[in-house]
Amino acid sequence: MVWRPVAPALALWSAVVLWSSWAHAASDLRVRAAAGRVLATLPTERLLPDSDELYVSANGLAEALDLDRFWKPETRKLVLKAGDRRIQVTVDARLVLDGDTETLLRVPVLYKRGNVMLPIEFIERCLAPRLGEGARFDRATLDLVTGPADVDVLAVDGEPVATGGRIRVRLAHALRFRAETTSKQMLRLQVSDARLDPVAIAAERPAPLVRLVRAEQRGRDAVLYFELEPEFGLFTSRAEDDGRTIVLDLQRGAAGAAAAASNRTPMLRDLVDTSTTQDSFDVVVIDPGHGGFDRGAQGAGLEEKAVTLQLAQALQPVLERELGVRVILVRNGDETLSAESRAELANRAQGDVFISLHCDAWHDPAAGGIDVSYAPLDRSAGADAALASIRRGVTDFLPWTTAHLPYVARSQQLAELLAAELPARLDLPGRGARPAELEVLQGVAMPAVMLEVGFLTNAGDAQAINDPEFAARLAAGVGAVLRTFRDESRAAGSGSGAPGNATPNGESR
């Protein structure tokens, strides 16, 4: 029989084709704006032998939708931030947490080749409903539409010009707008009575001097944020095309020319190296400890969560006035927040300094005084490996516990300054500065300390804290320390061998 010799080859070929088609013939997922423009195409694949469910890379999805993501390798948890929602998934688990909402998927989230893989069901049930007005997902076509169709802000594009870069914001019709710099590296454009699709507007490096464009719908207004390169100097704005185009001309500063010569493409992993430069001091983040059902320490009729909020609210205007910085409070009410949420908010705000305010407690009422803590330099192999992976570009995830490592030296410097200054200002004993594995500090990508302003279990400390003048004296003391810290950081940054440049590997940046 002629067919017998070829039967094995035929069988092999058939099986390979069948298997290959089963495993890989999944369609691509398209992320597109309502207007039809495809923003990204993401491959999907089947990963479970007993399920037809398709999976897509969480990394790719987050990039396409411009979502912040936080990965905690110890617990294998990934948090995606969509608008003001934090959606948490766990590798090998089916449960998705979104605030108080729990969703049980039919199949688990998986981990493959260094990527967290999300089932399509996650996009359908958990993500698309959180993307904002107009967002929708069609399982049949695998189309994820990111926003409303009737937008007023149509597009953002840019071009290089001799003095820097030019941004054009295209509008459907003439609208009022206001442009301002909120820090040396952030330009904010607010368009009144305008609707936009934030995902469609987001862009990377649309023009020289612009690192990133992000947008959000704020009530009736559309707000666009332009993250600028360090060499940015100043900008001018004007309307063209009968008001249907907003033009932003960005110019290099005098100091920017040299920096521009060594221009390079920044990525998420650059958070480790350059998100907070030593001479950047625009945003101070104050974290009032505890809150909500977590009352913290108690003593002398005081609750730590209330004391820390009151002190933080007193610090805010004083520091803004004295230092000319923007002060952000992690909470401004009686809210329950996890340590991760606090760090995430600080990172999101691109803070330059993070101070977590607390009160202490001890088993013996004799213990008292001011304590300042900073995160120790974790030289574990895991931390070093994670940092090395980020630098090599193996992964764009920033492992949670490595975010703070580059700032440990400057955190210690800040802690020691506070520990030296505040006891005399507040007339309380000083307990010095010490390293401690505090969870809230580990994920903060900036110099960060925990300041314990006294012991609520100590009658003298509690009485001092309860004094109406205490907050003002604390604000004056913290303000003086931050001014010194800023000046020393800038002086160190202009020289070589700055303490903050030390990395866990002892390398110099």
């Binding site: 067919w3 017998r4 039967a7 094995p8 035929l10 069988a11 092999l12 058939s14 099986a15 390979v16 298997w19 495993a23 990963l47 479970l48 032998p49 110890e74 617990t75 294998r76 590798v91 090998d92 688990p108 998986l110 981990y111 493959k112 400890g289 505890h290 977590d294 009352r295 913290g296 320490a297 108690q298 730590e304 996890s338 340590a339 607390h358 009160c359 202490d360 407690a361 001890w362 088993h363 013996d364 004799a366 213990a367 304590d371 803590s373 307990r431 401690a436 594995e437 505090l438 969870e439 809230v440 925990m450 314990e452 012991f455 609520l456 279990t457």
Partner: protein, 196 residues
């Protein structure tokens, strides 16, 4: 069996259908071996501690307390119940931590109402699991100093008396807790080396 003499060549001549099935089985095996799948989470075989683990000398243990001002830990040598199992010895040592210290001015750093329930030992990962009653959290005084002292005293006491233990996982009612008082992460095992 039909009584025919076996033909050695006949065994090699498989009909086409058999070749097809054999190829499919081969591919199925290869696919099962190499196909992508969920990474199995590391199992923690929470075997109850047995006699195999060696502990401190029976009847005597090093136990840690806090000093009066919350600046350091102080150690004491205490007589404890000499159990025949690691579980019993751990319970004896932790019970000693809950007693009043003998050192002048020293204080207990475990909430007095907290009770240690079950003790497990995972020899493979050198992890000790201590399952406390909820008072470990609800009766904790709070403050980073007191929380640090509770964790550090437990870690150092375990290290001093059970050198084969490298990691300590605290449980409350059988479940890991995120934190005791809002400052330190206790959802994962504590690496005892970093708490010395």
């Amino acid at each position: 069996m039909n009584g025919d003499a076996p033909n050695p060549r006949r065994g090699l001549r498989l009909p086409g259908l058999q070749w097809f099935v054999a190829a499919l089985l081969l591919l199925l095996g290869a696919w099962l071996l190499f196909s992508p799948r969920a990474i199995e989470p590391p199992e923690a075989p929470l075997a109850t501690a047995g006699d195999a683990s060696a502990g401190a000398a029976p009847g005597s243990a090093t136990v840690y307390f806090g000093d009066r001002l919350g600046r350091a830990l102080v150690s004491e040598r205490r007589d404890v119940v000499a159990g025949s199992t690691l579980e019993a010895r751990v319970k004896g040592v932790v019970a000693a931590m809950a007693e009043e210290p003998e050192t002048q001015g020293a204080v207990r750093v475990l909430p007095p109402a907290a009770r240690l329930g079950r003790v497990f030992h995972d020899a493979d990962s050198a992890t000790l699991y201590l399952d406390f009653s909820p008072e470990l959290v609800t009766q904790h005084p709070g403050g980073s100093t007191a929380e640090w002292a509770t964790l550090a005293a437990l870690a150092r006491t375990v290290s001093a008396n059970f050198p084969e233990i490298a990691r300590l996982q605290l449980l409350v009612d059988g479940q890991p807790v995120e934190t005791l008082a809002g400052h330190f992460d206790t959802s994962q095992p504590l690496d005892l080396a970093t708490w010395q």
